[in-house]
Amino acid sequence: MPKSSAQVDSLCRQAQDPAHAAGAAVANPINLTIDDIPVAVPEGSTILQAASVAGLRIPTLCNHPDLRAGGHCRVCVVEIVGQRGLHAACTYPATPGLKVVTSSPSVRKARRHVIDLLLANHYGECNTCSRNRNCELQSLAREYGVDAFRFGQPAAPRHAIDHTSASIVRDMNKCVLCRRCVRTCNELQDVGCLAIEGRGAKSHITTFGDKPLASVVCISCGQCINRCPTGALSEADQTDEIWAMLDDPSKHVVIQTAPSPRAAIGECFGLPPGTALTFEMNTAIKRIGFDAVFDTNFSADLTIIEEGTELLQRLHGALVRQDPEVRLPQLTSCSPGWIKYIEHFYPDQLGLLSSAKSPQQMFGSVIKTYYAEQHGIDAKDIVSVALMPCTAKKFECDRPEMADSGHKDVDFALTARELAKMVREAGIDLPHLPQSDFDDPFETPTGSGVIFGATGGVMEAALRTVIELVTGRKVEDFYENANIVPVRGIEGVRLIELPIPEVGPVPDLLRHLFDDFEWLRGATLRVGVAHGTANARKVMDDIKQGGVFSTCHFIEVMACPGGCLGGGGQPIPTSPEIRAARARAIYGEDASYEVRKSHENPQIARIYQEFLKEGPGGHKAHELLHTTYTPRGKFIS
């Protein structure tokens, strides 16, 4: 097999987070002074970064830690002694001997003017805005003593609000043209849906041909929402619809909760990132009025079984039967943003996708069939809600094919932010609630499901199961505490080789599919991980060109940087540090659980015994738990 580690290295390097390591001891420091404070920073630092090392705060608006500096808004202007005019601290390089002044009459006046001008073009009422008290423009206005609209304010909206997308609402009346969404969409995600139209005062953010969001190549990832400083971008809020369902006594309203929101929702209530509120959240959900709360970990484990089985089947087809129809590498299919991305940009590669539905949708069809049967509830009376870190899940649950239960499998996908809103509205003090367990029959929390939230998590969960099913031994025999550390990490693109140490007898679960695993003896599993669709594109292009990733067997792809914990439905703001803290919470939870492998989840064993009787990959499993994809292409008519 061709292998070029240099190629992988270079792909991985390109994909690395550019987060700056200021503050650490540096080899050849650049020495400068900011407000008379001497600072030493590594070469390549900006004045803004140097100021933060010196403990000085320079206000910013168009700057974002995940994005290339723009120098657009001019809020961060500073004086440089001996130079004319003011300079943007976010882009000006720290150079030896520079003397910077961050607060002078001219600087303060300029900042105030910039904020005045932004407000003069910002139409929107703070009190009714979803970003009230979480808005960077509002904060700047407060911090810089804006006490009047010196250059007026718009009397009427200039743009119609775009409600066409199932996931994202665009209200360009609130846009301050910082271009963070454009850089997110084009550089961070490489989707290229958002762009600037026109120039000067007429310039505005829009899509190709100024078309509604639902008609263009938007993948609904919502990363633009997470980086919008104002309320110009937000999720399509469905809380009122859910309240209506909760208030309807004829409805049985259940909710499944994904791993990532629980590691982040505390941020909406002033807690530091990385505070897990899993069981407090269960209490809140019950107090809000949901009839049952389930753990999406159950269907994450189900996904692992189905997707892992599919992988073994594909490997068997390719290695043993040498079936030319079998496509490898198998690509994961749990991220709906990624699904829409590949449907738009690689419609000829849909055969690589696992046919397994995402955990949200698997749970959806299980709830309206198995759960409904068990509890004697008519599926039409069940309202199935999913708490997700994701905006694309709203689009996913609306896909017409997602109705295998005979009803819409999942009725509503709720973001972490929307749930926080409902919690507040119900007058609940989330951080101080007692804890509650998940409800039967999907009550066992598992570590394998939890780590789905982090990049590499699906892969790790799959490997824990595949290794044990194939070798017949404990994964702990090969990896300490079952932590498959090589697949963890933050690099945007990763490629890992895992030799299969030995093979054992085929376990009961898979005996209907395989006679033995001898054909895997001595094999090396090559797996890849990519997060953020810009990185997914690198992997896909590499596969198309027959590069190293085309030799992989299995690749996990997540649309959002950091995986689901960095999802577009998570609390705002986001940054590499915040995502790292959420990841720590998730891996901490994994380590704390007794059951950490999908196939050991007792509810999984039960559902295959009681309901999906033909086993993984069987007829009923296929009917309820697998799906098909739509080649969309990127051309818009």
Partner: protein, 566 residues
């Protein structure tokens, strides 16, 4: 669109993309070619170009909507663009505008129902000495009168112009003796090739020549920095995006002395070690392109371009023309480079400067047309000769484009250090009330300052001089300037994008006699912020006119009689 039509577009675009090796930097030329063929760039064409060049369709759309000369919707067969520079306005452009509206039965911004004509304003087209002037597609019509408008429209209707290649019928202009006329072809280049690159650079430094585009950066120093930059690939770019309202001296060089320009570019290439030269020619000058291409072909035949120029082994250099698409801001060198790379013409953050990281991230020298032409003369006659002309810090001669209220508008060559009064005597503008020196981004001088010198020590400038006679309303002048800056701001930075709009609104309030002193003070304060906080020279200069009017003509702007039109 019918499938067959789509197939045709597909084939046409594929051919274009292939010709340009599917390079993103060819995006603007490709869009221009599509528009030339189909009269507009359709959504399908944009998507298909994007697909071939590896650019998101939305980005293609973003680029296409940035430039005024691209249409993403069908427009008339004849696109009329009337110049709205002050010289044109003073010579009756508004009367021409009304006649155009009357004759076509449409308003500005509209297209006739038969799809024949689209009517619009455009920024200065470099015909200020024969104002008013307009473009019909790529062709210039100057010294317009209402009667001529009718004849021109009739000619178009008869189809006489539909397929005729554009030619330059731009008329002659007043001028004095130009040093360029005495220059022997390539005399400078031949002497340059006899020197080492570093000797050559030292000669240019010794001449004291500074950039003629307006910023006045020492040319020799720029070349030295680029020569010292470590890179195998370097570029020489000629900034022929002469967009500063009131300037047309580069157009005179391009049409009459292009050989000097190409000679200068070749000298620059030898000095810094570049193999590729690009002339970024503004869209308004499309009619000059064929002429320039012809001269370039001749130079290639004569070994003045190509490999081993004049037999100098290892010195290979060629020049190509790259057309702009209608954006004043692309005269800013980093915006120009962005445009060359196929992006929106938005200025970059600096540093790094282009001499270190320019076109495609390589060391790049961007010089004005006149700078490069003058270098040819300097190399021929010597730095000493050049430095003997002018003043202490402003060496040599300079071309000035003069228009407005004067009897002899035209291009004049003068030594640096000439006073405004002396210039006015020369051009017949003795009765001036004010003079705009250095174009809209320069200085508006009241008569009390006409003894000031045109020189970097005092009034550094690019070359545009607009004379305002006693009867001119300077608040209307300010309104015209600010309309221009609002139109031409790229829109990426807040002070320039939003601030200039506020200044324009303020000037209109003043024109209406409705402005409080408090608000005027706020506008003056905002002007100063726009100057210091904007990203590039456009915003750094745009408020100057309001500041000048406020400082020198305050009694004209306050409590005016209430005008019906405002």
């Amino acid at each position: 669109m019918l499938l067959t039509e789509q197939e045709k577009v597909r084939e046409f675009v594929s051919r274009l993309a292939k010709k340009h090796d599917n390079q993103r930097s060819a995006l603007i030329p490709i869009l221009r070619a599509i528009q030339d063929e189909y009269s507009y760039v359709s959504e399908f064409a944009m998507q298909y170009v994007g697909d071939l060049l590896g650019v998101h369709a939305a980005q293609v759309y973003s680029v296409a909507t940035f430039y005024h000369f691209f249409n993403t919707k069908p427009k008339g067969k004849f696109i009329i663009r009337l110049s709205r520079d002050m010289s044109s306005i003073m010579k009756g452009a508004k009367v021409i505008a009304r006649q155009l509206e009357n004759d076509l039965g449409i308003k500005f911004g509209e297209t006739t129902p038969d799809g024949m004509f689209t009517l619009g304003w455009t920024s200065c087209i470099g015909m200020n000495y024969h104002a008013p002037a307009m473009l019909v597609n790529n062709e210039i019509y100057s010294s317009l009168t209402p009667q001529r408008v009718h004849l021109i429209l009739e000619e178009c209707r008869e189809g006489l112009r539909s397929r005729r290649p554009a030619t330059s019928r731009v008329g002659s202009t007043f001028t004095n003796e130009l040093t360029y006329t005495e220059h022997q072809d390539d005399a400078g280049l031949k002497k340059a090739l006899a020197m080492s690159p570093s000797e050559l650079i030292n000669e240019v430094i010794a001449s004291g020549i500074r950039g003629r585009g307006g910023a006045g950066f020492p040319t020799g120093v720029k070349w030295k920095l680029a020569a010292e930059a470590a890179s195998d690939v370097k570029y020489i770019i000629c900034n022929a995006d002469e967009g500063e309202p009131g300037t047309f001296k580069d157009r005179i060089i391009l049409t009459q002395y292009a050989n000097l320009l190409f000679e200068g570019m070749t000298i620059a290439a030898y000095a810094v070690g570049a193999r590729e030269g690009i002339v970024y020619l503004r869209a308004e000058y499309t009619y000059i392109k064929m002429l320039l291409e012809e001269i370039l072909r001749g130079r290639r035949t004569e070994k003045q371009l190509g490999s081993a120029i004049f037999g100098k082994e290892g010195f290979d250099f060629d020049i190509r023309i790259h057309m702009g698409a209608g954006a004043y801001v692309c005269g800013e060198e980093t915006a120009l480079i962005e445009s060359l790379e196929g992006h929106r013409g938005e200025p970059r953050n600096r540093p790094p400067y282009p001499v270190v990281s320019g076109f495609h991230g390589k060391p790049t020298v961007v010089n004005n047309v006149e700078t490069l032409a003058s270098v040819s003369v300097i190399l021929d006659r010597g730095a000493k000769w050049f430095a003997s002309i002018g003043t202490e810090r402003s060496k040599g001669f300079k071309l000035f484009s003069v228009s407005g209220d004067c009897s002899r508008p035209g291009v004049y060559e003068l030594p640096w250090g000439t006073t405004v009064n002396e210039l006015l005597d020369l051009v017949g503008g003795e009765d001036a009330k004010a003079v705009q020196v250095g174009g809209y981004s320069g200085a508006l001088l009241p008569a009390s300052e006409f003894n000031r010198k045109l020189a970097y020590e005092d009034l550094g400038m690019g070359g545009s001089v607009i004379v305002y006679g006693a009867q001119r309303d300077l608040l209307e002048v300010a309104e015209n300037y600010l309309e221009f800056f609002v139109e031409e701001s790229c829109g990426q930075c807040t002070p320039c994008r939003d601030g200039n709009v506020k200044l324009l609104e303020g000037v209109r309030t003043l024109l209406g006699g409705r402005c409080s002193s408090r608000h005027l003070n706020e506008l003056i304060s905002l002007s100063k912020t726009i100057q210091v906080a904007s990203k590039c020279g456009l915003g750094q200069s745009s408020p100057k006119v309001l500041l000048a009017v406020n400082e020198h003509f305050k009694d004209e702007i306050m409590a005016r009689p209430i005008a019906a039109s405002h």
